[in-house]
């Protein structure tokens, strides 16, 4: 399906490099003949298709190359001709020439293997409608599988964030480097309010881009688990013109992933080994040692009581002395490394392909097994694929079957924070449930639970998934201009999660014996089909007018269901077989969910270019889906773009320093469909199982639907300038965009008298203005000597603004206030703003915090009415500085991420320096709690009095400007190619690369990173061999 476009899309520059054309004149016969030979880099090619088309008359003649790679057109009418040479697995080649009466025209065509390097000049939209970048007005970024693998060998998400400035992975400080937690990804900001209420169980993050794998939308999980060695290319579609083909799913951008296509020829296979080591990065932690901790406890008043209670005083004294005794004995336990290990993962990937001209196959397999940086956490993935391609004349059928799955385990050590909190003056001990038990019954001691004990009890928390998928694609060339393409994908998968906690664990201390220990079992199934049909039209009119038109319709159904149950009560020592459970959970009912999501769409895409200078694009798509109001099932989306290839203008052709310069601008409307189903329909529920009367059961309204709910629509205006200057040494782009989502869908609580809560409402707007750039320069660029050194810089920033809410979201803001978050939905403010009360610091006289009221008064009193916008988490600039040096087979790369000028709410200061309640004094704390808090009148300190255990409200004191520099990638590699010793062992190429990822993190703010799971430094090694 991609072929027809690839043919036309081979750029002139490449052609000139590859093509030798010589004309010979021989008096032969009256009718001219054309003769030629087709070769690749090494040998002649048998069975290539050669189409000769008379440019004037349009008459086409086809032939193919013989066993010597030679082809002949015996009779061709005189005139100008365009010869197109195709062979599967190779880039197409076009040669033009004038055939004269009585002359013989000879060609020698060298074809280039298409997969050895990605053709960056083709924009793969994943819909089967591919565009020549030269004639496309959308903003896209294309990366080859090779490029991704020079960054790292973990997954493509990790590599993409380094390569593209608009592809941002949002920091998940809780989950750190947990291999079982999905990353949060945004392309060009958000397009909806982050809210859990509108998301159903099977919905995904409403700000996540759409991922398309081999032509069909897929899940982020599939992409994260995808074997990188199978990836041929990744295309990021950012703006409206490039994403409008995806209509209602497109407003967060689209990431299109294509896997390697099979190649004909003898059986060849390749093997890759990716090995990774992960080591927890604890440099951000700044915890007290035993002496410091005890001193802190003394100063903060843990061992004194205000009551005149001698028993209590004696108890506290003895407690202090016991702890002091421990410290004197030299107990200074470093708990942080207890749950940690050096994680590793190893991935074996093998791939074989071959076949003749009509039938080609590719079989791939991989198995990755890995352990995370926390003991017990791990993730194993596997995949297998069989790709079969059949091609005969005008028909091309491709079928790919995938089997893939994963099995993941969560660490038995639970949250890493338990170990961060553990007190250093207790001895590491795995025998007892408690590190310390209070010695009086007055209730003033704390049972200190041993964090190790739970981890040593039998338990499991594991998920297993397997999925089967089949993609069938068929292309039929109706004529030279028309082509029809149909595709069908079927996916079926199951996921099972089983969690067992043994009865000895601390969770069950206060549980009755017969209810100690729990087992829960959750089974989810999904089945989906997607099909599409595309009719394409492609024709040149005259020499200069080129028109491409596509009509594409899709249909899709996703069906999900899940069932879960819980059992409780296990005999002590049980390993967790549910056979030994006493009963189902008390008053527990099984829970089950199921959902069907369907969508239909029909899209028309038109592209016109004049002399390859002036370009125009138009896309219209009509989308229907079950996700929206029953009165508004269909919604239209469109885009329109213009472009100007300045380098093709006559005046620019004279400027030798200018290789390429293109200006594009486009506008369009796309949508966001990552919402749950059925927000539009009123849903009823049976009154709970305890409510009935003599008439039986009853039904009550659960949620009131909004049948007029309109889809969220995002209008995006984008402009872009792209350039290649100074003989390809300097290249880059600058993109600017304005992205406005209006209306948003917000779950609104209306006044309670309406009886309506979390009502999905079309209200307000969210506007993003942003800019992104990538500039790359090669100080050394000597292809002849095989040495290239390049330096590049990417950068992006954006600002967002809410509008049109009025006071409708007061309750939502109130909820945020009550749950003490930093978010608010207020007109004119950014979606990434930090909301807190303005702090004037600590009063040196009293050690109390002084706040600033809205009218500029100083006060000790905290009042939520004074909460204002105190910062913004979006940096002024974020991007990657990278450099790459290639000398023959040697390759060196370094990428550093910089982040300048964003604000951050420092949780370590908020939770571990202040806000240490009288109960959490017993937990280990940040060193600054001891050294930097106010102690005596007159101390000028950033933090309030050390003995104050009252709650500190969220204030601007904890909001800090953060500048960071982190090492995202470092790689050193060497490729052996065509060496004698390689051939001796049957190898064609051998590549070995060493990587380091995230090994360095510099920040102007000291805060804890990775609360529940630490961040990890990664060192990896890849070995690739092809045979």
């Amino acid at each position: 399906m991609i072929k027809i476009f690839t043919k036309r899309s081979v750029p002139k520059r490449t052609l000139l490099l590859l093509l030798c054309l010589y004309l010979g004149v021989k008096a032969y016969a009256q009718t001219p003949a054309v003769k030629g030979v087709v070769k690749d880099a090494k040998e002649t090619i048998v069975g290539a298709t050669i189409i000769a088309q008379n440019v004037q008359t349009g008459v086409r003649t086809t032939t193919s190359s013989d066993k010597n790679g030679v082809f002949t057109f015996v009779r061709l009418a005189a005139g100008p001709y365009r010869f197109t040479i195709n062979f599967i697995g190779y880039e197409s080649n076009i040669v033009t020439g004038i055939v004269k009466d009585g002359g013989t025209f000879s060609l020698s065509v060298v074809l280039k293997e298409s997969s050895t390097s990605l053709d960056k000049e083709v924009v793969v939209t994943g819909t089967g409608i591919n565009r020549r970048k030269d004639s496309f007005t959308g903003t896209t970024a294309v990366f080859s599988g090779e490029e991704l693998k020079t960054i790292g060998n973990n997954n493509i998400i990790q590599s993409l964030r380094t390569l593209d400035p608009s592809f941002l992975q949002i920091e998940n400080n809780l989950a750190g480097s947990n291999p079982n937690v999905l990353p949060v990804i945004e392309v060009r900001g958000k397009s909806s309010i982050p809210s859990s209420t509108l998301k159903d169980q099977f919905g995904s993050d409403p700000n996540q881009p759409l991922f398309v794998l081999d032509g069909f939308p897929t899940t982020l999980q599939t992409i994260v688990d995808l074997d990188m060695n199978r990836v041929a290319s990744v295309t990021i579609l950012k703006d409206a013109a490039s994403t409008a083909l995806y209509g209602s799913q497109a407003s967060n951008g689209v990431v299109v992933i294509e896997t390697i296509k099979p190649k004909p020829g003898e059986l060849r296979f390749s093997y890759t080994q990716d090995f990774r080591l992960e080591m927890a990065d604890l440099s951000a932690y700044n915890m007290m040692n035993a002496t410091e901790k005890l001193e802190f406890e003394r100063l903060s008043g843990r061992y004194v009581t205000s009551e005149a209670n001698p028993v209590q005083n004696v108890y506290l004294d003895s407690l202090y002395n016991a702890h002091l005794g421990n410290v004197r004995k030299g107990i200074n336990t470093y708990w942080l490394n207890v749950p940690l290990q050096t994680g590793y993962s190893t991935n074996n990937s093998i791939n074989a392909s071959g076949g003749d001209n009509a039938f080609i196959y590719n079989v791939g397999m991989n198995y990755r097994t890995g352990q995370g940086a926390m003991i017990g956490s791990g993730r194993d993935t596997y995949s297998g694929s069989i790709n079969l391609n059949y091609r005969k004349q005008k028909i091309n059928v491709n079928n790919i079957t995938y089997i893939r799955g994963y099995s993941s385990q969560n660490s038995q050590y639970g949250s890493f924070s338990n170990f961060v909190n553990a007190n250093p003056y207790f001895r590491k001990d795995s025998e007892s449930l408690y590190l310390e038990r209070p010695r009086t019954t007055s209730g003033s001691g704390f049972n200190v639970i041993n964090p190790i004990y739970d981890a040593l009890q039998p338990q499991y928390d594991q998920t297993k998934n397997s999925e089967f998928q089949n993609n069938l694609n068929a292309i039929y060339d109706i004529s030279s201009a028309f082509r029809i393409n149909g595709a069908l994908q079927i996916t079926k998968g199951t996921t099972t999660t089983k969690v067992y906690k043994s009865p000895e664990m601390s969770d069950f201390i206060n549980t009755p014996t017969l209810r100690k220990g729990t087992y829960s079992d959750n089974r989810a199934e999904n089945f989906s089909y997607q099909a599409n049909l595309t009719l394409s039209y492609n024709k040149m009119f005259g020499q200069k007018n080129s028109i491409t038109a596509n009509w594409r319709s899709t249909v899709q159904q996703n069906k999900n269901s899940s069932y879960s149950s819980k059992a409780e009560g296990f005999p002590a020592g049980s390993l967790g077989n549910p056979r030994f459970a006493y009963a189902y959970a008390l008053d527990g009912a099984p829970s089950a969910t199921s959902g069907i999501y369907r969508s239909l769409s029909s899209a028309v895409a038109l592209n016109y270019s004049y002399a390859n200078k002036y370009l125009a694009d138009f896309v219209f798509r009509l989308d229907g889906s079950t996700a929206y109001g029953s009165n508004k099932q269909y919604s239209p989306y469109y885009s329109f773009g213009l472009g100007w290839n300045i380098h093709n203008e006559d005046f620019a052709k004279q400027a030798s320093w200018l290789n390429s310069l293109r200006l594009t601008a486009n506008i369009g409307i796309t949508g966001n469909q990552n919402f749950g189903n059925l927000s539009s329909v009123s849903i009823y529920n049976y009154n709970s199982n305890t409510q009935y009367n003599s008439f039986g059961q009853g039904l009550s309204l659960l949620t009131l639907g909004n049948p007029n709910l309109e889809p969220q629509k995002t209008r995006q205006i984008s402009t872009s300038i792209e350039f290649v200057l100074l003989k390809n040494r300097l290249s880059g782009y600058i993109n600017a965009y304005n992205k406005r989502t209006n209306p948003l869908i917000v779950p609104v609580d209306l006044p309670s008298s309406t009886g309506v809560f979390a009502f999905p409402y079309n209200i307000g707007s969210l506007t993003y203005n942003g800019i992104e750039t990538r500039i790359s320069y090669s100080p050394v660029y000597d292809l002849a000597k095989g040495i290239v050194w390049s330096v590049s810089l990417t950068g992006s920033t954006y600002r967002s603004k809410y509008g049109g809410f009025g006071n409708t979201l007061n309750t939502l803001n109130k909820q945020q206030e009550n749950s003490k978050t930093l978010l608010r939905y207020i007109d004119g403010n950014s979606a990434e703003a930090i909301w807190a009360i303005k702090s004037m610091g600590i009063d040196p006289a009293t050690g109390r915090e002084v706040f600033l009221t809205k009218d500029g008064q100083y006060t000790f009193d905290y009042n939520t009415g004074n909460i204002v916008n105190v910062g913004n988490t979006v940096p002024v600039a974020e991007g990657v500085i990278s450099t790459n040096l290639r000398y023959k087979g040697f390759n060196f790369g370094l990428g550093l991420r910089y982040r300048v000028g964003g604000d951050i709410f420092n949780n370590a200061l908020y939770n571990k320096v202040e806000n240490i309640s009288s109960t959490s004094i017993a937990n280990n704390q940040d060193r600054r709690a001891l050294y930097d808090r106010w102690k005596n009148p007159g101390d000028v300190s950033q933090f309030k009095g050390i003995s104050l255990t009252s709650t500190t409200p969220i204030s601007s004191r904890f909001v800090q400007k953060e500048n960071t520099l982190s090492s995202e990638t470092l790689s050193v590699g060497y490729t052996f190619d065509g060496k004698q010793w390689l051939r001796a062992v049957g190898m064609r190429t051998l590549n070995a690369t060493l990587f380091g990822n995230d090994f360095l993190y510099l920040s102007t703010v000291r805060r804890e990173r990775g609360i529940d799971y630490p961040y990890a430094r990664t060192f990896a090694f890849s070995l690739r061999a092809s045979f």
Partner: protein, 476 residues
């Protein structure tokens, strides 16, 4: 080329055919949720939806507890509430303090939530017309409209202004007669009450064919099948309940003529709601009908009732949390008259000896679990019709005569004709509606500002200005 066009034609035709069935394709019926169309297209579905309204009425948040057993009774100083009690803030009228504010919020949101359900039911029965026959539809609609009026009326009585004049124009609450996501304005009290009366009149009209008129309450016998349409009419907004409610509303408005007319209409068929017997009240020790369910024009059935009893009134509840009056107060209310069925039957010193004072047994469970009057909380009884009529009769002697009818059926001697009607009625309201939530509204209607403090021997000034909860007021 010909083939090209042929292929094109086929493709287009196929596409058009596909588009034709799109509408159907996109109408998905979820399996794990119950949606409108499924419910209102079957008779059983409509009945279940209507029953859902009654079940939400009977929840603890509304008439299962808050508006009958506890919160509103505490407002009327029924019980001795120590300062450590969860209801202390309610007893001291500190409405904006938690947890009082939370309770008032709960009542408000649940009452209006049920109103939304009622309105949605009414709209859907109209939308899916023909699912039930015409007579049934009329009765169902009548019941629902009456419930809407009933809820609005109690919201007015609780959160509204004191309705001091016959035509109070004080700002009150929003009235919702349709499901919408827009905000209705706060109406003046007189307009609000007109809406209630209109709804009740509409309901009475729709209930012209209510089976209660011909066959009475029809309490089914044990093991007899319950007919959704005909049985247990006193657990539904039946025709007479609507008439009784009209009498209650008119009296609240100060329209004694209309109140009397409606009350008399019900009194005329009083034989359908027979008085309780002295056997039941005084001799039946195992399975007494403590709430006098036979006299009930309207009641709810709360299957959680006995767990509420165990939590609130049971003798085993600690002194600090039990809902029980001070013995002196209780004796004053019942004038220490052991002959009074209401006193003798429902107030006893626990035989187990755990309490030295009388505790409230009205909602205690009985031995025979098959009795159909279990779980019942009365909302409107025939006795109130006599009281309303007594208060509305122009002649005081006629009023006393009506009160005496009730007294005769409570084991009491008749009052002298010279007795003051309002004094006697206040005593009667105090005795009759213990745990039924009517007394506070009586005080509020009569503007009795000083009442006996439930937690002491002194008097307390009642604060009738119950504020609108925060979830409402922050938009107003």
């Amino acid at each position: 080329m010909k083939r090209t066009y042929f292929t094109l034609l086929i493709t287009t035709a196929l596409a058009i055919l596909t588009l034709g069935s799109c509408k159907k394709f996109l109408n998905v019926t979820p399996e794990d949720k119950v949606i409108e169309t499924q419910i209102f297209s079957t008779k059983i579905g409509v009945q279940t939806a209507l029953n859902g309204l009654y079940l939400s009425l009977a929840t603890n948040q509304l008439y299962g507890d808050n508006l009958t057993l506890s919160t509103v009774e505490v407002l009327a100083q029924r019980y001795n509430i120590p300062s450590t009690h969860d209801l202390y803030k309610i007893a001291t009228y500190a409405y904006t303090d938690a947890p009082a504010s939370t309770r008032l919020e709960t009542i408000w949101t649940n009452a209006y939530g049920t109103i939304l359900n009622v309105n949605s039911f009414l709209e859907n029965i109209e939308k899916y017309k023909g699912t039930v026959d015409e007579q049934t539809e009329s009765v169902f609609k009548g019941e629902a409209i009456a419930m809407r009026a009933f809820l609005h009326f109690d919201l007015l009585r609780l959160y509204g202004p004191r309705y001091s004049t016959a035509d109070s124009t004080k700002q009150s609450l929003p009235y919702y007669a349709a499901t919408k996501s827009s905000i209705n304005p706060l109406l003046p009290a007189n307009e609000f009450i007109v809406n209630i009366i209109n709804d009740l009149n509409t309901a009475a009209n729709l209930l012209q064919n209510d089976p209660v008129i011909t066959t009475g309450v029809s309490t089914p016998r044990v093991n007899e099948t319950v007919d959704f349409f005909k049985s247990n009419r006193n657990f539904r907004f039946n025709y007479y309940a609507v008439k009784g409610l009209l009498a209650r509303v008119y009296l609240y408005r100060g329209d004694k003529v209309s109140a009397l007319k409606n009350a008399k209409e019900v009194i005329a068929v009083a034989n359908k709601f027979p008085w309780t017997t002295s056997t039941n009240a005084l001799s039946e020790k195992q399975n007494p009908d403590r709430v006098f369910s036979t006299e009930m024009l309207l009641g709810v059935s709360n299957t959680q009732l006995y767990s509420r009893y165990t939590a609130l009134f049971d003798p085993s509840v600690t002194d600090g949390t039990i809902l029980a009056p001070l013995p002196a107060r209780l004796n004053t209310v019942f004038e220490t008259n052991e002959n009074d069925y209401r006193f003798n039957l429902n107030w006893q010193i626990p035989s187990t000896g755990v309490k030295s004072y009388r505790t409230f047994y009205k909602y205690a469970d009985i031995v025979d679990k098959t009795k159909l009057f279990r779980f019942t909380i009365p909302l409107l009884k025939i006795s109130e019709m006599y009281y309303i009529a007594a208060e509305s009769e122009p002649l005081s002697a006629d009023g006393i005569a009506l009160i005496n009818i009730v007294r005769a059926n409570r084991g009491l001697l008749p009052l002298a004709t010279t007795a003051v009607v309002n004094t006697e009625l206040q005593k009667e309201y105090q005795k009759e509606f213990f745990g039924e939530g009517q007394l506070f509204y009586y005080y509020k209607r009569r503007n009795i500002t000083s009442i006996g403090n439930g937690s002491g021997t002194s008097s307390i000034t009642v604060n009738y200005a119950v504020p609108m909860p925060l979830s409402e007021s922050q938009y107003r």
